[in-house]
Structure formats: C-alpha cells, structure tokens
C-alpha cells in the first residue's frame, strides 16, 4: 500500500531527463526469461508475437502521456513510429488490442507481481521496490 502512495504522488520527470539506462524491464521470478532484445520487445508491445522461448508473455505499459512511456516507445519502437496511428488501424482491422495501459509504475509492478508471465517497464529508481516485491529485472539488448 505504501508503495502505491509513494508512487501515486511521485511527480514524473520530463521525457528528456530519461535515458535508455534509466529503464528497467521487469517480470516475475517464475517467468523463465532473463534476456530480451529490443526487437522482441517491439514485437511484444505491438502484439505481433506473444511467445518467447515457449513462454507466453503479456505486456503492461504506462498510459500514453506518461514521460517514461514516451521514452520507452521512442527507444523500442523508433523515434518516428506513430503508435497511435498503428493502434487505430488495428482497431479498424479488428485485430489485436493494445497492451494493458496503467496509470503509473506502481500499477505496473502490482500487475506483474500478481500475474505470471506479465512483463513491464519502470524507471531505474524503483529497483529496490522491484527486489522487495520478489520480481526480477530482465537484461535488454537495445
């Protein structure tokens, strides 16, 4: 509970203040994955693929106005990738739905903690919370 209160009132930084080293990719300890590439993350968050090393992963993302989401999208999808346009087209095609979007990083961690196979991203400052909740950080090749 205190984790939620701590982060709910935490004022997010501007996107410019983040770098690729400030993002942690997090999943539960039971998820048998320790490494993921940028391309695999892209395929996962665009719902092109959901199974890696025979493990089904469910992505969780921050809401689209969150500064960390903006940085993550730029790093993983590409600087000029129009993600809103992409999901509008997917809706028209009645294809896959966007990943679950949550308000803040506290919810990202709670989702991952309670659901096996969920994967998400938080800022590096929350590494202690990640460990305290019994989650693990996945190594990413960008």
């Amino acid at each position: 509970m205190y984790l939620f209160l701590l982060i709910a009132f935490w004022v997010p930084q501007h996107p410019e203040s983040y770098s690729k080293n400030d993002i942690l990719i997090v999943t539960s300890l039971s998820t048998p994955i320790d490494h993921i590439t940028r391309l695999q993350l892209k395929q996962l968050y665009l719902k092109k693929n959901e199974t890696f090393h025979k493990t089904k992963l469910t992505p969780v993302q921050l809401k689209d106005s969150h500064p960390l989401r903006i940085v993550f999208d730029q790093l993983v999808l590409g600087k000029h990738f129009n993600i809103q346009d992409y999901w509008i087209k997917q809706k028209f095609l009645a294809n896959e739905k966007p990943p679950i979007s949550v308000m803040n990083e506290a919810f990202v961690l709670i989702f991952i903690e309670r659901n096996e196979g969920f994967i998400g991203y938080v800022n590096k400052g929350l590494e202690g919370e990640v460990k305290r909740l019994g989650l693990k950080v996945i190594e990413v090749t960008l």
Partner: protein, 373 residues
Amino acid sequence: MQQFRRSGLSVYHSFKELLTRVSNCYENDDSVMMSLRCYLILLLFIFFSPLQGLPSETEKSTLPEGSVSSEARFYFGGWMDLLYLSQEQDGQDSYLNVPHMYAFADLSFDEKWRGFIEVRRINAPGAEETVDFERLYLEYRHSIPLKIRIGRINTPAGLWQYMHWAFTIDSTEKPLIEQKHFFPTESDGIHILGTKVFGSKEIEYSFFTNYGGKNKEYESKNELGYGLDWSISLWERTKTGLFFSQFKDDGMGHDPNPGDRKVTLFYNETQLFPEKLLWRTEYLHLQRTGMDSLDGFYSKLRFNINQKWYLNLRFDQTEDLSPDQNIYTHKAHSFTVGFQPTTFLRLRAEYSKQSKNITESYEHSSIWVGVRF
C-alpha cells in the same frame, strides 16, 4: 454459465433486430436524409443495446481494480467524412456530401471468441447510395499465428484493400486497380489468418474460401471463390507479398465484364527512411474466362514531414475494357497533402490528373475531412 448463455441469446436478438431495422430503413426510403436517420437509429441501437450488459468473462480476478485503460471487452466505434470534389470532366458536377458513414462494434466474449459487426452507408460520387454490412463475423482466436473468422469479411488482398477505409488511407482517390473492382471486395465464408515471427522476420498469411462475394460497384454474386495472401516483413523495413485468388461468377450480378476470374497481386512496401519516407507498389494481373488478361499497378511515395503532416505522391496505370470491349490504358497522377491534428480528425487536400488513351485527360481536386468517434 447461465448468465453467459442468456447474454448469448441477447446478442442473437440484437443482431436480428439490427438486421430488421437496417433493411426496413433502406427499403422504405432512399433519400439522403432518411439514410442519415437510419444511421442514427443504428448508432443509438448499438449504443444502448443489451450487448453492453454482458458479463465480464474476460476480467481476471488477479488484476488490480481500476486504472486499466484498454482491453475493453466491448468496443464501439465509427467514422464519417465530408468530401468536396471538383471535377473537370464532361457531364460531371462538383460534389459536396458525406460519402461514408461507418459504425462498428467489437465484442469479446472471452479470450478466444469475439464477434464483429460493421455497418456502412456509402454515397460516393457517381455511385448509388447503399446501406449494408461491410463485415459481420465470429472470430476464434487460438493465438496470434492462428485466428479463424466465419461470416462476411473484407477480401484480404495486398496492402491497399487490406486498409481501404477512407479514414485510414493516405489519399482520397482510390488506386485505379481498386476503382476498377477487378475482384470482390467482400467475401462471405471462412477466413484463416495469422502472424508468425521468426527472429527479425514476420510472416503474415490469410487464406479464405467463400460462397458468395460482394463487389461494391457491380454487386457480383460469385458462386465460389478462394484466395491466399502471404507476406514477409524483413529488418523492420520492408514487406513483400503475393495474393492469389480465383472467383467463379454465377452471372447474376450487373458486372459488364462477367466471367470467372483469377487475380494475382504482387506488392512491396519499403521504408526508405524509417517512418519518414515510404515507397509502396502493388501490381495486379487479372485473367478472365474468354477475355484478354489485364494488368495494372500503382506506385507511391509517402513522406512524413512530422507526426501530423505528410505528403503523398502516386502514379497509377491500368488496363481496362471499354464499352465496345476494347482494351484501353488508364493513367493517373495524384498529389496529396495530409494533416492529422488529433487521432480523431484527419484532413486531406488532393490534386489528381487522369488520362485514358480513348478520351481527353481530365483533372480532379478535392478537400476531404474525416472524423472518428
């Protein structure tokens, strides 16, 4: 389970009532205002239908409550547009109207099953006004690589037809190979589709077989058809594919050039500069029973100035049959400036010059506004 069964019944009654209302509207009055009224009734009906009262089969008890902004089990949407078209052609007046109104509802029963319904009203320049279902199907989603749809689907062919809605495409004029309606744009039958990833390669496939197809212009009813669309995307930059289909015509439609058809479509889309400059080409080859084969293609460049503005340049060339059954060549050049200020609003200004080797060339210019809701 009982609640779910009751909901299934209510879905069935909803569809039934919807069908009745749409067909009554269309049969009773064909004026534009009546169609608008029918459309509004339809929207209100979908909005307040019992579909919204379905039990939450997909909700997971383990998920925290609140704060989730996607994964809706019922999604309702639609769009409409306004077009001003100035035509420099004999006997053609300028056009100002609402050419398209679409409404769709997407209902997920659980993680595997979903229903999709899309109703459209089309009042395009030079065509009769129609109100009907564009898509109406039930989908079983085994996984991303395997989905099965049963019902009315859009014929999955190439790039443009796949994303043909005026709101989602880059230009106002359709490519000529699409305008000529060389194959049915909708198919009633079974559709199997999916995407499979192998490292940096993405393979997409679509297979359909249909009993009854619909062509917007000629309303062809085909006895039997099948098709396969297969594409590969490489290095996050380029997508290449091939579509092949065969349609048997029962001769019941109003197509001036009836007959069985074999359609082959080759396509490529390459990001010359990632997400900045796109080059796309689609080439179509059509064979019809007892007639010469026809070829057509278009090639276009789209330059994204930023996330809101873009420029689109396209060249089209295709063969077709004249009323006296001679083959002629039709060419078109078009230039479009597009503006997308929000995800709900899109604007386009377009200039197009067309020429046929049997008539004089003519020009079109248009302003288009699309609104999504």
